[in-house]
Subunit: 211 residues, 2 copies
Amino acid sequence: MALEQDQFASSLLEQAVTELSRLPGVGRKTALRLALHILRRDESEGVALGQAIIEMRKGIRYCRVCHNISEEEICPICADGRRDSSTVCVVENVNDVMIIERTGQYGGLYHVLGGVISPMDGIGPDSLTIDSLVERVAQGNIKEVILALGATMEGDTTNFYIFRKLAPFTDVKITQLARGVAVGNDLEYTDEITLGRSLLQRTLFSDSFNS
Amino acid sequence: MALEQDQFASSLLEQAVTELSRLPGVGRKTALRLALHILRRDESEGVALGQAIIEMRKGIRYCRVCHNISEEEICPICADGRRDSSTVCVVENVNDVMIIERTGQYGGLYHVLGGVISPMDGIGPDSLTIDSLVERVAQGNIKEVILALGATMEGDTTNFYIFRKLAPFTDVKITQLARGVAVGNDLEYTDEITLGRSLLQRTLFSDSFNS
């Protein structure tokens, strides 16, 4: 608390603490701890950290097609001719792209919304890249749009908004991630709504041999 | 876990995540979260963070006298002629200097040890600035050395080591921080050793009117 009016021994330290404390989850006390850690380590390590941040921020832009982060105008995923360009997976953010890539189960393209519709946080459809998605679909090459937003109220709202926006394209299949019992979970730890859905959307047992 | 072998969308992002994850308490998942946060904000903000870290690391050195951080050869505290240069407060690290300065109760100089003796962590007396403290005392201007290390086993060990090193200087008073009931604490939350010490070292009630 008193840290706010602190007299730091050095204005350079104070500046670094101020900038570090802008990071999410980092208060001024944590920022000071991080700064003192950097000071204790080799100069090269601190300089490398600073430079990596600057180079990342200056060098990374967003893919013109899917809005994923990229060093080029078109990201490596969109530019990869071996991927199935007729399938687009709609995700909330850049991190979700990495998470889905890590499953190794998806070979199509992505569309990064940049958030989900959340009136409470002042995020309407216009803050997101939904128009850009509609344009992509309007070009006619896309056969399936997979809605892969989180299973939250905001995610469901956004799913439904996109679903209605894409309704005119009657030949495009719109799917969403299966809801069900998480692999490794007991039934007693699964909520009733999820369990109900997993009953309604039950799958053939023999199908599980293929995955 | 799988994050280790991740294919990041960008080598610049990967580099930044690697550097950020060297910070204490920051794993690769947190580092990725921080990096994506920086990417979402203005370019100027990310660049300011990187530059503040570099400038701090390059610009800050250690005071030749007291080993506190400083932008000059002698830190502002040692250089301040209004401070009582006959009293030296021995602290573990730079943060402790700031903490004591914040009390507004101390007008002497400091000596930053850079740690406490801790054989388990491989920190012996030679890793600390104890020799430099003995040299300062040997110069003859210092009348009191206040041992202000933490009330831990390592702190006590270090206090005793310094006490013995300074024993030859019989005209130098060696004191330590009072142990006692923390202000605002009930007795039932005070451990027995602290309570015992605070009984033995009880102070005149009338003295509390002056503080």
